[in-house]
Point group: C2
Chain length 188, copies 2
């Protein structure tokens, strides 16, 4: 089965109603023509995109603990953050790693770019593997309060089981580390 063309599934954009212009997200409702000719509404969150970093130092994964108001609790995640306007994703990944953990990396490479919630959001996360890490000073954003952890694979798996690691990008990063799918990242 070769999905060479999906043209018959396409929705045709008709109009956009702006709903909200925020600091992080914008929200809009699009009216579209569905493949059967009828009209539908699509609620869409526009997001600037983000980067996340799988970074392993001396056999331990770098995680940051932070409060997530949307979840109503703290969560352990790999270092990550929004893209600034016009910023190159790879530079953003280096920047977020340094700001949140203090570590600088000698090399960095893209593992995957993926959409987090294609049903309602255009957020895309560029996931990088950072290697050749050197410790330094953290410099988080002014409204960011973080704590850094360095955990073994077994600890990371335990945190997944306990729900302390509970987001898609971090789960994916731990699987990529566990199964060597991040290439040399596990050997750092």
């Amino acid at each position: 089965m070769n999905p060479t063309s999906s043209k018959h599934l396409k929705e045709k954009w008709i109009s956009t109603e702006p709903i909200f212009q925020g600091k992080v997200i914008n929200v809009q409702v699009d009216t579209v023509e569905l493949p059967d000719g009828s009209q539908g509404k699509r609620e869409i969150v526009k997001h600037p995109g983000a980067v996340a970093v799988l970074a392993v130092h001396e056999g331990k994964l770098l995680l940051v603990d932070q409060y997530r108001q949307a979840m109503g609790r703290c969560e352990l995640e790999i270092p990550a953050g929004k893209l600034e306007k016009g910023e190159d994703p790879m530079e953003a990944a280096r920047r977020e790693l340094q700001e949140e953990t203090g570590f600088r990396c000698g090399s960095i490479r893209l593992l995957h770019s993926f959409y987090t919630s294609p049903g309602f959001a255009d957020e895309i996360i560029h996931l990088y593997a950072a290697e050749d890490l050197t410790a330094g000073e953290v410099s988080p954003d002014e409204d960011e309060f973080l704590e850094i952890y360095q955990v073994t694979l077994e600890e990371a798996q335990q945190y997944i089981a306990e729900g302390r690691i509970a987001d898609a990008k971090t789960l994916l990063a731990v699987y990529m580390w566990q199964f060597g799918a991040a290439g040399g990242a596990r050997e750092c």
Copy 2:
């Protein structure tokens, strides 16, 4: 390093400003007290939660091709859908699998529950592995236009490389299938 308590990172909720009540999402801006005593704003998308299904039939992964207005194109994803009000996630997973692919499953089990975008959304996806599959009739929602694909692991990897598979839940499902992390799912 044992993150036993993250209380010092907690943000204290002060108030909520409702912004938008949609069919799929609600949007609000919360005012919070940050750990340093200052105030901050958090833009939050409220979502009912969703289910997704890793289903392998005769060695091939079930995928659905559908147009995603937020992405502006079609994408291949594992079967998935929103939770209906008060619905049990496992029943929802069985329902979505049947509605979108026609397949019914003899057994189903939870692999992971994860947040897609903890920085701005409370959406949680419950990812299940469905086994003992039996083909049947599809019955998609009235505004859903889908095409079903059954792909080998190699094809799935090719679609990831091409960006035709490009969302977090499907990427995670393919890794779990590839590395046997879904238990017996690969042998179905």
